[in-house]
Subunit: 443 residues, 2 copies
């Protein structure tokens, strides 16, 4: 630990000025490395989550933040167990599978049923119960790549709602082709939902190569039997935390410029891209801002808990701070991996659009252009935006994000330190511009 | 199965002429697909191995080979169990691990010991017993990429001999950085060896990202404790088979032109690149040759069993056919994935080098150049070469081979059908040239 502190201290003592683009330290990357190496995965509600909370508090302290605290919330804890899926007849093979977050277990001996394939959630919805009853549904929809991750939205429905739709038709379980863009043999996890109206059935994802394999098997032998076994646990309600730290504003301490990321991660990788990178970027931003001279407004860094379970920490934050959301003059979140930022999207009042243009001009040397005014601010921050808080999205290049996202392959080696530097520069410029202005972005 | 047969029959009826480069069917790829989809992994000695043998015999028959038979051999069967590796103190993380082939199990409760890292097998060999005794050795040597897989040889020693060297110094177990070139989070398996002189200790590989992670942990905390648990089994001697088929020569049936691949695979992928591709290529070569008019010499296709365990089937073949190896006028094996062939290496007698040049001229339109005269012919065929059988190696581009080799990620989607076509064309030309000549390549 000592060595690390020395490095950070040395980095801070460089007195870096982002606006002059002389960021030659690596603080954001170092923080991401520290979190992923020392804590690793940090599934919300787990022991590792508690270690991550402790890590974050300690690091905020070490970085010289003025105030550091945690805010508890309660959540449903879901615990992964073993998962296995095999073709039991006629081809006898193991497939690579992972439980979807929130899924119940199978019976102890597993589920042995014929599989029925659908191209999409939409096709499943139109199916007859006779086709589906007592079977294992397989939704085999592939996902295309782009910078914005546009196609995620059109496939993730199978993951989130597939179990409900399959259960409506009497299915025993559902498996989906992984919501991801890589042909590497990793299954992608992610949260799924049940409804009170229909039975809960086990839900899992298979890797893209296994989906291709299963499709090829079915084209040879449509009456294929699968055996699915999973022993996930749902231990019930536990406590988790948002971790919050502030650099107190020198002139307007009650006006809050909120920058954020989420501290929790899925449990199979080390959560380096999702969202260790975001954690490193925003923690470093606050620390370096203070080193550059205290900002006029307060800069609050929020590391939300349990984003992956459905923005649970963000909802708790919004509820707890409901009376003070008016004092939140700005919010943004870094949660789309570690790619370079290429566009500034705003979510401002109409009179503030010129401020967005000025901000983009300050970011232009980082190859960041101006997008539109319909930014969400990021998953957790979208909850604040819904309450009227102005936001920006510093849009990262997510072309490869869904190659790694929610898989065991989300590890530190996928993070490019140079791209992290560019992110940090953009966050410093943006946060500083808002924190040292008098603008009311709601207008 | 019916559909598949129709396709093959249609393909064969095209009467393709490789020398005219009008290979517009996909027979080699189709065979690889059939093997990997219908059988999948086929670890030597397993039930899946037996299914693969039955598959091969059936396909040879369907493809119209004149003779098809199997030749039994005995082998030591090694069965993978569960494997887990975690950092037990101070960082509490699971690492991605796989047992090396042949490794014993750990005690039921696993091994909990401090880890000691070495940069290479050579560095381990120079260590003091005091550094190593009662610890888990970690060899952290990375592998570079090239077309020829040159660097495999310089890292695979840690996998093959690491357990013996570590045991000499009193280690409790050994883990190695995967012998592979990808940063995807897959651990690479492969055969390892014990010696009668020192205790057998468990041996495993961790993925490249996990090796990087472990190295970073050790730089923070040199006194790191690992917990390794594996329950592999060594059930003892079982029978496996080489599967052999022939197109009988029209004029010189006793002169054998042997082309080959290995039928077995490691158990975590589906063995598409290693060596499903080779199986498809050589099975298709014989079948299409017959369609083009029976060759003058006999073309024998050998699918060797248990290559991965140490050329066990190849040794059995050489022993069984010892008296007839003189009749083997040529041998070659396809076992380096599914990349395009870019070079012809020969292993001929000095008087036959002009034949190699003529052959290369026939291959030049496929972008195949002439290499040197020190070809091994391939892993299994190297056993025949050692007995004086002339060989060639149709050298494939292996740049990406070690990204997938011996990992769960060795699946059909990594095979490029167009590259398979190019391979098939080269094998057809080469095999036909030798089978229809009178040349004695030993001279
Ligand atoms: Zn995220
Ligand atoms: Zn091989």
């Amino acid at each position: 630990m000592k060595l690390w502190l020395t490095t950070i201290t040395a980095a801070l003592s460089l007195q870096l000025h982002a606006s002059e683009l002389k960021l030659d330290n690596n603080l954001a990357y170092q923080l991401t490395e520290s979190l992923t190496v020392e804590v690793g995965q940090r599934l919300a509600g787990s022991d590792a989550d508690r270690r991550a909370v402790a890590w974050a508090e300690q690091k905020f302290q070490q970085l010289g933040y003025d105030k550091v605290w945690r805010e508890p919330f309660t959540m449903q804890y879901w615990q992964r167990g073993q998962a296995s899926l095999s073709v039991s007849a006629p081809f006898h093979q193991q497939l690579v599978v992972t439980a979807l977050g929130g899924s119940i277990a199978t019976p102890f001996d597993g589920i042995n049923s014929q599989v029925v394939m659908f191209d999409s959630l939409e096709q499943l919805k139109q199916a007859d119960a006779a086709q589906v009853k007592d079977k294992i549904v397989f939704i085999n929809k592939s996902m295309a790549k782009d910078k914005l991750g546009t196609f995620y939205g059109s496939v993730v429905g199978a993951r989130a709602q597939g179990a409900v739709e399959a259960a409506k038709l009497g299915a025993k379980a559902i498996i989906i082709r992984s919501v991801g863009t890589s042909i590497n043999r990793f299954a992608h996890t992610g949260i799924m939902r049940y409804s009170e109206e229909v039975p809960r059935i086990p839900a899992a994802a298979i890797s893209v190569p296994d989906a291709i394999q299963l499709e090829k098997m079915l084209s040879r032998q449509p009456e294929l039997t699968l055996h699915l076994q999973m022993d996930n646990k749902l231990p019930g309600e536990v406590e988790s935390h948002n971790v919050i730290a502030e650099i107190t504003g020198s002139k307007y301490p009650d006006e809050i410029v909120l920058i954020s990321a989420h501290l929790d991660s899925w449990d199979e990788g080390t959560g380096a891209l999702d969202d260790g990178a975001g954690v490193g970027i925003v923690m470093a931003t606050g620390a370096l801002l203070k080193q550059q001279g205290r900002p006029e407004r307060t800069v609050r860094v929020v590391l939300f808990g349990n984003e992956e379970g459905g923005l649970v920490g963000a909802r708790a934050y919004a509820a707890k701070h409901a009376a003070k959301l008016k004092q939140h003059v700005f919010a943004s979140e870094s949660d789309f991996g570690a790619g370079r930022i290429w566009r500034l999207d705003t979510g401002f009042g109409p009179n503030s659009l010129p401020f967005g243009q000025t901000l983009q001009q300050q970011l232009a040397h980082l190859d960041i252009s101006l997008g539109d005014n319909s930014a969400t601010g990021g998953p957790d921050v979208s909850i604040l935006k819904a309450q009227g808080v102005p936001v920006v999205t510093l849009q990262q290049d997510g072309t490869d994000y869904f190659d790694y996202h929610h898989t065991p392959n989300d590890t530190l080696d996928k993070v490019d330190p140079a791209a992290m530097q560019q992110n940090l520069a953009a966050w410093l410029i943006t946060t500083k511009a808002v924190a040292n202005s008098r603008i009311d972005l709601r207008q």
